[in-house]
């Protein structure tokens, strides 16, 4: 299949590589020449613009930092919508707000293109290994049509519902993630202050009703889970500033539908405090520092 791919960052580059490995023809575009070069050496065609990457493609994939970038990549004079053929589907794997998805889907539909949201979970590790989960928003028909392409980059291709629901699934999941991590950090630090061995406490939680991914897989207390970022200085995981982006999307979406998001908004402020202390690049489980008196 002939695929146009725009956005070769930490996630996009390995995703595009996997498409090449899966046997697709891939035309790539990114503002970074070195990112383009790396992909070209792996067999991709360098496109001069998003428009060029989209020209002649049977499918276009975008993987960008925020909605503003997606808007620009789609609607610029040399953007995707200027180059894409009628009937071709655009898959956006960026994490953006559901309202923007609907706006972009409308723009695409106006010229005969489908726009499917397919944000991912699994991080850079999953992107490299081709084991990402894709949360797909679009009609059942579009879901079926993009599934084969996404299968080249991920393991779990989940249909979430109509356009935008892929993003809804992503931000609601990450809202829970941000809240549970803050809660586990608070409880682990409290337990430590009250004199229980953190490993014992972690063990009890993980076999009881406090059990959660933030405790049994990613426990923020160093040494409780050997493979967690906390056991290697909070490096190499899911950065605090990325969690902040997702909590920002969640609380903004809640604002848009007049829903209170008490827990998410509070967790957001705590991660913001971390970021203001200069810890924005650490794994988000470093939030436990706010409770252990190291910072904050």
């Amino acid at each position: 299949m002939k695929i146009g791919f725009v956005g070769l960052g930490h996630m996009g580059a390995p995703m595009a590589l996997n498409l090449l490995k899966a046997g697709h023809t891939v035309a790539v575009f990114d503002l970074s020449a070195s990112a383009m070069q790396t992909l070209a050496e792996a067999g991709a065609q360098k496109a001069a613009s998003a428009k060029a990457a989209a020209s002649g493609a049977e499918c276009v994939i975008t993987m960008l930092p925020a909605a503003a970038h997606v808007r620009s990549v789609l609607t610029a004079e040399d953007g995707v919508l200027a180059g894409i053929a009628k009937g071709v589907t655009i898959i956006d794997s960026s994490t953006i707000d559901p309202a923007s998805v609907k706006e972009f889907a409308k723009l695409a539909a106006a010229q005969g293109n489908a726009f499917v949201d397919a944000p991912v979970s699994g991080g850079t590790g999953g992107a490299a290994a081709g084991t990402l989960t894709f949360m797909v928003g679009g009609s059942a028909e579009h879901y079926e049509s993009v599934k084969p392409v996404l299968s080249g980059m991920g393991k779990n291709i989940v249909h979430c519902g109509e356009t935008g629901t892929g993003q809804v699934a992503k931000i609601c999941n990450n809202l829970v993630l941000g809240v549970t991590m803050a809660g586990v950090a608070e409880a682990m630090a409290l337990g430590e202050a009250l004199g229980i061995d953190p490993k014992v406490l972690g063990g009890i939680m993980n076999t009881s009703t406090g059990r959660c991914w933030s405790s049994d897989t990613y426990n923020p207390y160093p040494g409780v889970i050997e493979t967690a970022p906390s056991s290697r200085g909070y490096t190499g995981g899911f950065g605090t500033d990325l969690m902040l982006k997702d909590l920002g999307l969640a609380t903004d979406a809640a604002k848009g539908v007049h829903q209170p998001a008490y827990m998410g908004a509070l967790a957001q402020q705590l991660y913001q405090a971390m970021s203001s202390h200069g810890d924005g690049k650490l794994d988000f489980s470093a939030i436990i520092k706010l409770y252990r008196g190291e910072k904050g």
Copy 2:
């Protein structure tokens, strides 16, 4: 073994029954004559006071609503400490604050008795089935000595560390539980408002980083988990007022050691709002009503 058992409420009664089934001789005391009668019919001896229940016992177990009751049962003129023989261990399975545990342990030690905290998880269902988890605080020696007795009432007998750490484990776990449930409720209601099918959202969370007991076992959205209280009108689970008691213990303990408990304190207020609406007897997962506009 000859056991004295004080406190025959929703938890204590089935626990004492299981001790009888395990072949122990049990002398029971409770202020409720009917609770006493039920146990007597199952083979227990009715004691006229906590002191009488403790007299001649090789082990005394207390299961009471709060620290004030434990204090009174221990120290009253006709209380446990007045009747118990030197060297006999007192096991308190009530959920109370760690500071009170230490105070009671001192009182007991002053007259040659050990006081072991062993709060439980598993609810009335686990109490009846004899599948409770006991979180035991005390020396390794005391842990070994109480294990055989507790095994008659539970499946998991976990040693948490020194005196008081059983309570620490319990309240830290329930702090996480109260926070994750509030977070999951917030996210499920937000997802619904943003147009995703709650069952789809629950399914994604439960296989992703939002995974937690509050989502995969006790999901607050009706119908997502058929066996959860939410699927039967929020009845028959873990009452909101009980969650409030445990969050109160957690935030009070945090106050005592000058630790902030941001997430727990906020969750506590949300459950308090539920309780103020008259929903204190509903399962705590009914907190989702605060977000779904039914109440609150």
Copy 3:
């Protein structure tokens, strides 16, 4: 002076009227024909577009709901920047985010115009009476130049500092306002539940350290302050949805500079809960309903 005025809503219309009364020549533009007609009857010139209103003006004033409207009114083909003469100052009295102010100031500067932010406080009452407070962001020179115009619409013309600081002053003040009102509502409802007469409690607060505008002028408990919206069914004051807009600007601005905004973010969720109950049009002091069990 010849003034172009764009935006004739609840605030803009009475402000433009006051400029007419002050003897200025005013060319007005609004999408609402009836709003235009009302001003025309009072002596204003109807302009066919924002561009037309700006043409030939010695000063242009915009008063719009949000940054998106300001952007559009400035940059559209028939917008202000297309019609304004070089050297003329644009005064924006909308309440928008400081970052957008800086962006607009750059656009204006690029074609030789100054852009001064001058958001107001005082509400529709102050707009009608000409007693608004203007918080002006811009150089000392620009402040001096706009002061005479603003004096036609307000009583207090305060220089806050460089471009954007007018908005900073406005949103920081309203952050405090949103927080103090929530705090006063919480305390008044708590006092009532604990058995004190709310009027007595209000009286004590207002002569003690709890004293604040939200208590001594706008007390949320009905009857404590006879002239407050709470004493007339929470009508006719500062709408909850407007407070939500301002708290949204404050927490967004905090996000932008990586500052935690714990109290503001929590208050925002509480007002959001009100709005989700259908109370978004009530005065924001109706937040006390969340605490008094009437709703929420």
Copy 4:
């Protein structure tokens, strides 16, 4: 008048001194011999116990750190209730929870004594100057009877309602105080980060709707109010740990009546974070450090 006075701490000592200056005969008791000596040198009689201080007194005043101390001073074998004559009124000026007040009033009534709660505001400065405010809970008759005594120590003697309402007034006022200070600190730090001069911002707030005691009298930003603790290194004001005590009373009282206390509980955690950083002795306005990145 012959007065018994128990509790000669930072507040009690200057209060008792003012009673002496007002011409009363005062028998004092405190566990600190040096505190007793200071008062004796000013003309007081040293009593050997609380009981002795109460013996023969026409009025007994207690000024103690917490409810547990009041309980002990009242009910101990050598306590006030053992020494006081029938019909004599006990005035408790400690800040304690309203529920304990009712319990103590019952104990006193059982032996024919009235117990009036009369907590104060005004701090050690007001205690020395005799300008305290007393918030009095009790019948109108009791209020009239204690007014002359209290007038010797304070300027404002306010009748709040029935027994316990003095404490209700105190903790509700301080709930607002703790919340507004946190809100002002948050807004001042945000304004600074966004580039406005804190003095300008403070000036605008203090003439606008953000106006409050925490801003116009006690502004947490150094230099905005020259006489505030923030302008002298956060020394000599109202200590953070005292604010924590009062917020603890407020949130506990809210728990007791099933009222949510969202804002108060969050503020409490923020002051707790300060305290955990070792700042518990600083004036509570030092909470702004949590926002300015100095600590926390």
